[in-house]
């Protein structure tokens, strides 16, 4: 059994009286594709937001690569190696595709004011490296031909891919994808499946929220199911699929 990359221990998050997450514990192993599924409003995206420091958890903690994650510090989460995409795409719409990916390199680079003013050799070398890496990633996800177009002018599927490229630019250990297949047709979804498998093959652990059950069951090594903010099941897809609690959550309790 491979080492744990991420361990959530009793994570809780409330919005007023609503318990969006209630004592959620789960562990993700290094190198696996881990699916997080559940009906709408089950708390999946809330979990992502806590994980990436956008929300401050009301309880519990997350241990990442052996160290506790600081709560609500997005740039700290990025530095530690957690990257994500969004359910509703959030690119820098008025920057080019290439620039979007280049911003993703920010966390791994360092040129500051002095560098910008002096344009010394190190700064120029770093800038060239940022440029090269952005090109590689655009090519990797398959939007290299749109590099100079504004992000808002890309097709929906390309925007999803670009967002993945931008997340990969931060050199993550864990890539969290929030419904990457939403709104994709079957050809695009198949392309996405291959992309995610390729990312895992490159040694990056993937955490996937997805509604496309076929995609999740085919792609993920293990799956956790959330319902009303609580984890109700966690195992390999074939077992989770038959778990009565899961069936009840999805289909309602009144099954005869």
């Amino acid at each position: 059994m491979s080492a744990l990359l991420l361990e959530a221990k009793g994570v809780a998050k409330h919005f007023g009286g609503v318990k969006a997450l209630h004592d959620v514990s789960l562990s993700i192993r290094k190198g696996e594709i881990y699916g997080l599924i559940g009906p709408n409003g089950a708390g999946k995206t809330t979990f992502f937001n806590v994980l990436t420091g956008l929300y401050h958890p009301d309880g519990g903690e997350i241990v990442f690569a052996g160290e506790k994650l600081k709560a609500s510090a997005p740039h700290e989460a990025a530095a530690r190696g957690i990257a994500r995409t969004f359910q509703n795409i959030r690119l820098f719409a008025n920057m080019t595709a290439r620039e979007n990916v280049m911003v993703g390199r920010h966390v791994r680079t360092s040129a500051g004011v002095m560098g910008a003013v002096l344009c010394d050799r190190r700064t120029r070398a770093e800038e060239a490296a940022i440029h090269r890496r952005a090109e590689e990633l655009l090519y990797y996800v398959g939007v290299a031909d749109r590099a100079d177009d504004l992000a808002k002018h890309l097709s929906y599927g390309d925007q999803r891919r670009l967002e993945i490229a931008r997340a990969l630019a931060t050199d993550p250990q864990l890539l969290a994808l929030d419904e990457p297949a939403a709104g994709m047709n079957s050809t695009e979804t198949e392309g996405l499946r291959r992309l995610v498998e390729g990312i895992r093959a490159d040694g990056i652990t993937v955490l996937l929220i997805e509604h496309d059950v076929k995609l999740v069951m085919g792609l993920c090594d293990r799956v956790a199911v959330l319902d009303y903010g609580q984890k109700i099941s966690e195992d390999v897809p074939s077992i989770v699929q038959k778990d009565p609690r899961v069936i009840e959550a999805y289909l309602g309790g009144a099954v005869a």
Partner: protein
């Protein structure tokens, strides 16, 4: 004809200064959606600090240009510190407050700075010592001084440098990313507090240069000079489309030309009823017209896109 050329030259000089100041307004607005009404006072502080240093060194035997450069350095450093402090004290604690709150602190800071300047430099006008080579050159029947040529060239160079910084560097990308979506920029490892501070510092450095330019061109500086200048530069930023760098530059130059041509011809056009002392009216006429007919400015995006 030579009046026309002369007013164009005057307008370009004035416009270059407006453009530098307008950039400070527009950069801050672009990144935080906030009008920094204290920015005009930063220009004033730049002018007075530069002038004090220049006066101090006027009899040192150094060449005039060197003295002015030293004054400029001092002014830039002081203004950068003031800009940094303004953001920390007046805006950062209110980052999540309703938009009206930082607007009020902005006006408060403006009043504090004005009064502080009055205490330090007094209520009098300070004259710029005649240490710069003040040659006059003839162009198409109009005259332009060496100082004016320097103003236009330096302003153009600074604007060019700013464009390169914003478009070609890691910091510039981080600034644009923060302007578009601070939350996501943070996820890319951008420290947005640092970027916001930097925005204020850069804007204030430009303001210091503009302040020195005003006092060198009009040979005068006083504690109250920032108020009207700031309002006009704000008008220039709105004219170009607030939040848009190219717009601020264009708006600044245009406003300078409008003011200067307006002042030059208003006497003739109204049969002497209004004189060139109505110069200030034009800027605010422009502001009203832009707000009524094209609130997004000349090159600005529709306001809805910012929401």
């Amino acid at each position: 004809m030579d009046i026309f050329i002369q007013q164009i030259i005057n307008g370009l000089v004035l416009g270059s200064i407006y453009a530098l100041v307008a950039l400070g307004y527009t950069m801050v607005y672009g990144i935080m959606g906030l009008i920094n009404f204290a920015h005009g006072e930063v220009v004033m502080i730049g002018a007075l600090v530069a002038l004090s240093v220049i006066k101090l060194l006027a009899n040192s035997g150094l060449p005039g240009v060197v003295i002015v450069l030293i004054g400029l350095m001092a002014a830039a450093l002081v203004c950068m510190a003031v800009g940094f402090a303004i953001e920390r004290v007046a805006y950062r604690p209110l980052r999540k407050a309703p938009k009206l709150a930082p607007l009020i602190t902005a006006i408060g800071v403006s009043i504090v700075l004005q009064n502080l300047a009055m205490l330090i430099w007094g209520r009098n006008y300070h004259a710029f010592p005649p240490i710069l080579p003040n040659g006059e050159h003839e162009i198409l029947g109009a005259t332009i001084t060496s100082v004016q040529i320097a103003i236009i060239i330096i302003a153009a160079a600074m604007m060019g440098g700013l464009i390169l910084l914003i478009n070609r560097t890691r910091l510039g990308r981080a600034m644009r990313a923060t302007a578009e979506n601070p939350g996501i920029a943070q996820l890319m490892g951008v420290n947005i507090n640092q970027i916001i501070s930097l925005t204020f510092v850069i804007g204030s450095a430009l303001a210091a240069v503009a302040g020195l330019m005003v006092s060198a061109n009009y040979s005068i500086a006083h504690y109250y000079m920032g108020f009207v200048l700031g309002l006009k530069a704000f008008t220039a930023a709105v004219l170009g489309g607030i939040g848009n760098l190219a717009g601020a530059m264009l708006g600044g130059i245009l406003l300078g030309l409008i003011e200067s041509l307006g002042a030059g011809y208003i006497g003739d056009l109204t049969g002497g009823f209004f004189g060139s002392n109505y110069q200030d009216v034009f800027a605010f006429l422009v502001l009203i017209c832009v707000l009524v007919f094209r609130p997004s400015g000349l090159v600005g995006e529709k306001a809805a896109e910012r929401a």
